[in-house]
């Protein structure tokens, strides 16, 4: 508030408990105006970052999204496993699809199916869905998280940028066995070999 010329012009300094009398739509304090300007400019920065990242950034949640009947999705997953299975691990099929292809992972109470074996630096379209309730796809330790909703196919273009053994944690509550829901994604080096440490730890038959 700039110093007014006359007492009659002074705005009363009232608290928020008091009814302001008369016309209170008067110019704001100078400091309020300054802060308003700064805050608004900052909101514009926030504003710009999301479209900018869609344009220039490497991580977006757009995906190829469609509705899918749970049974139809399950059939695609089974076909996918039949086509590219290379082994089994703890009773789960290990599937190694060719780089560039569509790959599938099904969340259901309480497992992720199947185990994916991908190649570092190659692009895949990862289709995620559920045949029962909501699940949460959480890739550890990369920390990529997506919501899995039954009846919806979330197709995400992914490029693994590191080789190794990754866990898939369910991070949406899906019933009492929620904590048992642990899957796997294996990523090989560009030449198809597993990095030393991970290769020893994993027995793929």
């Amino acid at each position: 508030m700039t110093a007014p010329a006359q007492d009659g012009d002074r705005r009363p300094m009232n608290t928020g408990m008091v009814s302001p009398k008369g016309r209170w739509w008067v110019p704001a304090h100078r400091s309020e105006k300054v802060w308003f300007g700064i805050a608004f400019a900052w909101c514009m920065v926030l504003f710009a970052m999301m479209p900018l990242w869609h344009w220039k950034g490497g991580q977006n949640a757009s995906g190829i999204r469609s509705r899918v009947e749970p049974a139809a999705f399950e059939a695609r997953v089974n076909q996918f496993v039949a086509d590219y299975q290379v082994g089994t691990m703890n009773g789960f099929p290990v599937v190694e699809p060719p780089p560039g292809s569509d790959v599938y992972m099904l969340g259901r109470m309480w497992s992720w199916y199947p185990i994916l074996k991908l190649r570092k630096g190659s692009e895949y379209t990862l289709h995620l869905s559920s045949t029962d309730v909501n699940h949460g796809f959480s890739l550890y330790p990369v920390n990529i998280n997506f919501q899995i909703v039954p009846g919806y196919d979330y197709g995400l273009k992914i490029v693994p940028t590191e080789a190794g053994d990754f866990g898939v944690i369910c991070n949406e509550f899906c019933g009492v066995g929620h904590h048992l829901m642990l899957g796997k994604v294996l990523v090989t080096n560009e030449d198809g070999t597993m990095p030393g440490e991970a290769a020893q730890a994993l027995e793929v038959n």
Binding site: S19, L46, Q59, D132, Y140, N145, V149, V159
Partner: protein
Amino acid sequence: MATVLETPQGGSGPGEVFRTCEVTGLKLHRPAERLIKANAVAATVALLIGGVSAILILLTRWQAVHLLDPVMFYRVLTAHGLTMLIFFIIFFEMAVLYFAAGPMLNSRIAAPKLGWFNFGLMTLGATLCEWMIWTGKADVLMTSYIPLRADPLYYLGIIFFAVGALLVCFQFFATLVIAKREKTYEGSLPLVTYGAVAAAIIAVITLLHGAATYIPTFFWSIGWMSVDPQVYRMLWWALGHSSQQINVAAMVAIWYLLGALTVGSVVLSEKISRTAFVLYILFISMASAHHLLVDPGFSSSWKVVNTSYFMYMAVLASMLHGFTVPAGVEIGQRLRGASQGLFGWVKRAPWGDPGFSSLALSIVVFGFVGGITGVTIGTEQINIVVHNTLRVPGHFHATVVSGTTMAFMGLTYYLIPLIFRKKVAFWRLAQIQPYMFAGGMLVFSIFMSFSGGFGVPRRHWDIGFTGAPFEQAFHPAVDALMGIMALGGLVAALGGGLYILITVWSVFFGKPFTEADRVPGAKGLPQGITRPPRPVTVADEANLPTGRLGQAPGTMILVAVFLAAFAIYYFANWKLLSFVWKIG
């Protein structure tokens, strides 16, 4: 304090009486007072149930203790979420609505009997839900995402509660009409009431979404119709997040109220503060879209438009309040002589008044932790590394617990003498309670967020994955982080327990508060009551600084620090995101 005017006032029915509060000069309508008391007591009962649940959850997620079995864990988690976020907070907000329309405007409230009907309906609904949850018929967590199914009575309970709350909002609007018509106040609504109006309007929007969610879900649960799981998520969050916006609006209104009561803080300009409340009403409902940022059912443009182009206008509103509230305190303090240097007003603030310390802690933790993390993790792409990890509860415990709940607690230390007319029991404990609660919660939120940064999931019974087909171990730091988180949580729980002890003891066994108790330094009474801030005059404006930073230079510095912290955190998260796999 109070001289009771046992005479019916004009415009009120027979038997309805007012008393005048000698501290604030407000005229209190007795039926309003009784409704405020009933709703505050119900809120405290809910807080107790939610608080005990919180401790059980904490002691389970702390892997070294791992107290509950999975069935009980998810059951208690369901109870904790619903009891705290819905029952505790909304009961308290009902008390605030009765207060903001009745006593604040010196008015009688509309249809007190309807108020009791509403209270009964809400209590019935809440009881029904608790019964279903604790008997194991609703192990669906608070969000109850379809197709997880609870007993139909659970959904019915929520519907009853919501209808009751909706009717209280209409009763609130009717009271505003009465006050206007009976000319119980002059000029415009006080800012605090204006903020409560914003909260009530958002509540109506929220509760209508609640109806659109739970009525079809109820019919789905008895097999009459189908509900799409993705549509459910969208509608549920239009309820679930918007209800947190009722809290924000109510909390900010309470900030203005506590500022006025404790240090006589001034409103810099009615225009800015009121415009900010209008921005909440207009834009904050869209904020619920940020729960769906990595959902398959929505396009990126839908997500970006709703979370950015609309929500940031609500963020702007919060940043405005985040300036005007502390600046109002600063100028209020300076007008009354505490004007030395940049921060003399902080130093000379009544830190031993739990109303004031709650206000300050609520603003700082809500803004610096809750606000900054919330805006950042609500960014479409950043949400990829955040969704459903512990970073989410890490954020909202800083907003809704150390922000909203802390503000409610601070107000309670004034409600006990002014409405319940009792002295605050265990005064020394009451003075340290806000520090324990906010301090514990601060540690809890920060370390929970750090754990979430390692990908630790929220709502998860066992991150040791016992019995899973593979072995999975989290980063070794996680154990230590979650241990510290648990300690912070326990301190906060102790602070919450103290609050319940103090309020229950004061109300039921406390010493009555009389005018003779109002001496400076008296135990059991906040400083704003024993030594209310003196009214300011035009002459006091000579105390205000005239430098380049304006009349509130200290606040200018504080908000600059805030903005710097915000920018660092925000861009650090983009950097973090850039390290993960290419995805799109």
